[in-house]
């Protein structure tokens, strides 16, 4: 236990060093303040210790202006901290436009990742180094939280709503993934690994295990659910055409407008009456209970693939080279959930740096 004893986490994302710099600034400033207080207490307590039991001090006090000093000076220090922190938060909150989308489904007690090329994996996530990755996350049950300490990213994953997270890995290797929002019995077992790979290795990895991209699967589902009977590709259907919809600002009944993003599409599938596109009748039935989280993600991926105005490069499905087996989507099972030996038991995963056996095994759980 004493061999591996880190005191500071790995910094493996583009934001990590910025956050660490801020952290060291905070440690320095706060440490200095604490040191001043502690030293003053020791100094005063020793210097002015009681010399005899009946001693009554003179009652002399420091000058009153020190009050102003220790209100005004901390105020400006605090505001400096606020602005630095807020500036970082803006960066953490705004993914770049060219980010690679990965869909994440969290449930008690596993992480499931769906790549746009059709690969899916459990408790393991393969990403290329040096490319921004945007996670589109939803939970199937309780609240979870996606936390990769080495990336300094952290976002709660909510049921019935998409939350987003992004990072750009800068260091090839394997990093811990934790669920950090308490989610029940196996909360501490809801962990996995993020494998950061060289782009070439990543391409090789992608070429194996693809089972039909989410968009392709979504298209099948779209037809199976007969969505296309109303949402035809022409604009003559009972419902609005979905071609080119994603990312647009759409007028809705009542005079306002809404951006057709993931959460809007999700709401429109599960709760169609909430926001009705201007010029159409509120006749769409709900699909709540008929589609699960993963199917929802596929439907949305399909709608996005019908034309995206804002997400060039990220929403076009990567050409899937894999054979298409109908039925259950293949998954590459990552490290198991048992603790703490999971780090060594990852037999089905290619080493993130290895080019020898980069093809993920295709075992369906």
């Amino acid at each position: 236990m004493f061999n591996d004893f880190p005191l500071f986490p790995d910094a493996a994302s583009s934001i990590a060093n910025d956050i660490d710099a801020f952290y060291f600034f905070m440690v320095g400033v706060c440490g200095l303040l604490a040191l001043v207080v502690v030293c003053l207490i020791f100094f005063f307590a020793l210097k002015y210790r009681r010399r005899h039991p009946d001693e009554i001090p003179s009652g002399e006090e420091p000058p009153q202006w020190v009050e102003v000093v220790w209100i005004v000076v901390p105020f400006f220090i605090l505001m400096g901290m606020f602005f630095w922190g807020a500036w970082l938060y803006f960066q953490v909150s705004r993914p770049p436009d060219d980010a690679l989308d990965i869909y994440v489904t969290a449930k008690q007690w596993m992480w499931k990742f769906q790549h746009v090329g059709g690969q899916s994996e459990i408790n393991a996530l393969h990403v290329p180094v040096g490319r921004p990755v945007r996670l589109i996350m939803a939970s199937e049950d309780v609240i979870h939280s996606f936390f990769v300490p080495a990336f300094r990213v952290h976002t709660d994953v909510l049921p019935n709503r998409y939350s987003f997270n992004w990072f750009e890995a800068t260091k090839v290797g394997k990093h811990h993934l934790f669920c950090s929002e308490y989610c029940g019995t196996e909360h501490s077992g809801m962990i996995g690994s993020v494998f950061v790979m060289e782009p070439a290795d990543y391409e090789v990895w992608l070429s194996g295990g693809a089972q039909g991209s989410p968009a392709d699967e979504g298209k099948k589902l779209f037809e199976k659910l007969a969505c296309d009977s109303c949402h035809a590709t022409s604009s003559t259907g009972r419902g609005p055409s979905l071609v080119g919809l994603f990312g647009q600002i759409r007028p809705i009944q009542g005079g306002s407008a809404v951006k057709a993003d993931e959460n809007y599409l999700r709401e429109s599938i599960l709760n169609p009456q909430a926001k009705i596109a201007d010029g159409y009748q509120p006749i769409m039935p709900t699909f709540r209970g008929q589609v699960n989280e993963e199917q929802l993600m596929r439907l949305i991926a399909y709608i996005k693939s019908l034309g995206a105005r804002t997400q060039q490069g990220s929403t076009q499905p990567v050409s899937s080279g894999g054979n298409q087996i109908p039925g259950s989507p293949a998954t590459t099972t990552g490290n198991g959930r048992e603790l703490p030996t999971q780090s060594g038991s990852n037999v089905t995963q290619p080493s993130p740096t290895s080019t020898n056996s980069p093809i993920p095994a295709q075992d369906t759980p």
């Binding site: 801020f22 207080v37 009554i56 006090e61 606020f82 309780v142 950090s180």
Partner: protein, 547 residues
């Protein structure tokens, strides 16, 4: 004895509140605020050790990375019940209901609180809640975390969620009644001449606390009722599967539970003001700044709840508002720390046990407060949210802060409560053990948190073990530090030195009456002609004017 001007000549009387009447009934039906304070003391001490048991078991489990001492479900129940018991049944009532009940009316020269029967009722309500909590422990526990987050608590947990939330709901009413009682008492029952700015700072902080209790606790009550309704009747409020919103729950819960932090720490600040003044024999520097800082904390404390949700999916702009307000609430806290420190300047500082606790409080609270800034800073919170960093932070505030002050206050007023002195050497030893044990327990957790160890983890990855072992080692020292006072306090009831009216040579009305005080506190209503903490050399004492 001291030459302090407030050293009134007491009227010696054999009768005091302890021997005024005898028998169980005379205690269980008492309307004497002092006896009710004792009843609270007994009840919360039991709860403190129950909560401490769960903490001990958790620390033992965390000695090794594997979950090997207990199952995950048991561990989850233990941290949940540790939190619920320590917060709802120990920390929130600790200083207000024990020390506040006992000492506040005496401090302001009153015979009792404004509503003595209501005060007794509040204890019974507390007991019903505490018995409910104990029932949950015996019946098999609850595993939601003390925060009861939905939809886990309403849909997924198979444990005693309704019994637990109902107990917390009931206990809330005892808080409300105590707060109400204090506010009316402080307004209406101050002794003649005791103007607002002559009040001891403990009274100011209890006033601020009471305001929070009255305004925030009903929100918790409503929230818990909504939770029970959803869980029992499947009415969709928070659960998205039923059309509810889980973030709504978090907003409502933290609207109470962040101010609840100030319910725990404001009284502690009040106690520390008393201790620093008494053991440096000086008026608190910047009295009005400290007094208004309490009110500022109470006010701003209502506006910062969103900083618990910075990664939960609130908008960037609301996160910024909550962040800046959280930074602002640090200012009144900082004012207090600086003023206590400045009070020591040219004082007459003694190292009695209560003062050791008070100085320990200032150090630990400073660390707790400063690390709070890390969490208020948006960019950093993104990393340390829900990790051991926050576990360490709030333990520095609640244990290093509130519990240290509570222990200091108990030692300080013990001579008044019991009429006898605790053994000073043992007292100092326990203060030292608590300080060392506390830091060893919780400081490594800051490092663990930045490393990325999430909170509420039954098992963890092996590289976190060394710091966890340090933490557990510290916890065992801390446990001894807490057990020792329990033993010598009981010992001192019989064998302690007779304290006398004012063993510390302290200012304050409570030290002018006998120890223990008579049932009605004062044989004559005191008339106050001096400011709080009026320590003067004898030649200046005559200058004090009557208003």
């Amino acid at each position: 004895m001291t030459t302090a001007v407030i050293d009134r000549i007491p009227i010696e009387t054999e009768e005091n509140y302890l021997n005024a009447s005898y028998g169980v009934k005379s205690w269980l039906l008492t309307k004497d605020h002092k006896r009710i304070g004792i009843l609270y003391l007994l009840a919360i001490t039991v709860m403190f050790f129950v909560g401490g048991f769960f903490a001990t078991m958790m620390r033992l489990e965390l000695l090794t990375p594997q979950g090997d001492l207990m199952t995950s479900d048991t561990y989850n129940k233990f941290f949940t019940m540790h939190g619920i018991i320590m917060i709802f049944f120990f920390l929130i009532p600790s200083i207000p209901a024990v020390l506040g009940n006992f000492i506040l009316p005496i401090m302001i020269g009153a015979k009792d609180l404004a509503f003595p029967k209501l005060n007794l009722l509040s204890w019974y309500i507390y007991m019903i809640g505490a018995i409910g909590g104990t029932y949950v422990v015996i019946a098999g526990g609850v595993d939601t975390g003390w925060t009861f987050y939905t939809p886990f608590s309403t849909q997924y947990s198979n444990t005693h969620v309704i019994a637990t939330t109902l107990s917390a709901f009931i206990t809330g009413f005892s808080s409300i009644l105590t707060g109400l009682n204090f506010i009316v008492t402080i307004h209406r029952m101050r002794a003649p001449g005791l103007t607002w700015f002559r009040l001891p700072l403990f009274v100011w902080s209890m006033y601020a606390t009471s305001v929070i209790m009255i305004l925030a606790t009903p929100v918790l009550a409503i929230t818990l009722v909504l939770l029970i309704v959803e869980r029992a009747l499947r009415v969709g409020i928070f659960d998205p599967a039923l059309g509810g919103d889980p973030l709504l729950y978090q907003h409502l819960f933290w609207f109470y539970s962040h101010p609840a932090v100030y319910i725990m720490v404001l009284p502690a600040m009040g106690v520390v003001s008393e201790l620093v003044a008494a053991f440096s024999r000086k008026r608190i520097f910047g009295y009005k700044f400290v007094a208004f800082a309490s009110l500022a904390i109470a006010f701003l404390g209502f506006l910062v709840w969103g900083h618990h949700m910075l990664v939960a999916g609130i908008s960037v702009y609301s996160a910024m508002i909550f962040s800046i307000l959280s930074f602002l609430v640090a200012i009144p806290s900082a004012i207090k720390v600086f003023n206590w420190t400045a009070t020591l300047y040219k004082g007459s500082v003694s190292y009695d046990t209560p003062m050791l606790y008070a100085l320990g409080f200032i150090g630990l609270f400073t660390i707790g407060g400063l690390t709070g800034l890390f969490l208020a800073a948006l960019g950093l919170d993104v990393h340390v949210h829900d990790t051991y960093f926050i576990v360490a932070h709030f333990h520095y505030i609640m244990v290093g802060g509130a519990v240290m002050a509570y222990f200091g206050g108990i030692h300080y007023w013990w001579p008044k409560i019991s009429g006898r002195m605790y053994p000073e050497w043992w007292g100092r030893l326990s203060a030292l053990l608590v300080f060392v044990g506390f830091n060893l327990t919780f400081f490594p957790q800051f490092i663990l948190g930045y490393l990325g160890m999430p909170r509420r983890y039954h098992a963890y990855v092996p590289e976190f073990q060394v710091l966890n072992v340090m933490s557990t080692a510290g916890a065992s020292i801390l446990a001894i530090g807490y057990a020792v006072p329990a033993i010598y306090m009981i010992w001192s009831l019989k064998y302690g030195k007779i304290a006398g009216n004012n063993p510390w040579g302290a200012a304050g009305l409570e030290w002018t009456t006998t120890s223990p005080p008579p049932a009605h506190n004062f044989d004559e209503t005191p008339i106050v002609t001096w400011d709080a903490y009026e320590y003067r050399p004898p030649e200046e004492a005559a200058v004090v004017t009557v208003v």
